[in-house]
Symmetry: C2
Subunit: 159 residues, 2 copies
């Protein structure tokens, strides 16, 4: 079974190469970027300006192939791929929750951007705490490591 | 630009048709299901059992086509598609955060499932509060409507 998707826009950021990028939005606090939504989809942006945060789904277009066990940026132990947010995945879909500052025509001005410049956008969803914020969470190996994500940067291992 | 994905597993739930389904995991509290991850990807599940919650990305396979403005289940006003979680989208990728009860071999036993039985799985990511829980959020038209999602059910409008 093959599933075919087509980009609905392009994400722009200050990050033109993988090395040195923040590895999560928590490490990209304040970093600004913008999303150019293709004109055909403009009417779909109505009402989005009421939301302070949005979920971007996009293609990890800088990554090729995958390994089912990886040593993540935040660790020195090999972990199962699906217990990580590593970009090299069987279906390389990226997920970032960013702050939405404003919308001008078909351009979304966003903040806390940990995404490579030129990234193809697949979908935009509103972030809704009732659906998306979980409580009493155990975060496995990322329980401690996740807290350091705000200071760690990417290297070239996921090219 | 065409992007091609292939399912990595199948999601099983008690919901065999769209009508009557919960419309978000918040309305599916306690509903159990399981994810069959295809054997090829089994090694990628290592370490995932340390996480209490996981993000499932999947294909809205029960939906065809899309409209850029829709009247969502939770509202009576047409909204921009990207300001909703409606399943009929240009790239029909679904996102649910579910509770992970346990893993047996290549089967994930999950809870709070708002997903149609037989849904093709595209990706699994660990839910990490540092990355995924946002604070000081404005949720636009869903600010009030979102709170009723726990009691509302789907109808046939997104077939």
């Amino acid at each position: 079974m093959k599933i075919e998707f087509t980009p609905i826009g392009i994400i722009h950021s200050p990050f033109t190469e993988l090395e040195g990028m923040p590895i999560q939005p928590s490490g990209a606090a304040g970093v600004k970027g913008h999303v150019e939504v293709f004109k055909d989809f403009h009417p779909g942006l109505k009402d989005l300006d009421g939301f302070s945060h949005i979920i971007l789904l996009y293609l990890f277009h800088g990554s090729r192939g995958f390994n089912l066990q990886v040593v993540p940026f935040l660790d020195s132990t090999p972990r199962g791929l699906f217990a990580t947010r590593a970009p090299k995945r069987p279906n390389p879909i990226g997920l970032s929750i960013v702050q939405l500052d404003k919308i001008e025509d078909n351009v979304l001005h966003i903040r806390n951007v940990d995404i490579l410049d030129g990234t193809p956008l697949l979908d935009i969803k509103p972030y809704v705490p009732e659906f998306d914020a979980q409580h009493q969470v155990r975060a496995g190996w990322l329980e401690k490591a996740g807290k350091t994500a705000s200071t760690r940067k990417s290297d070239d291992r996921f090219k």
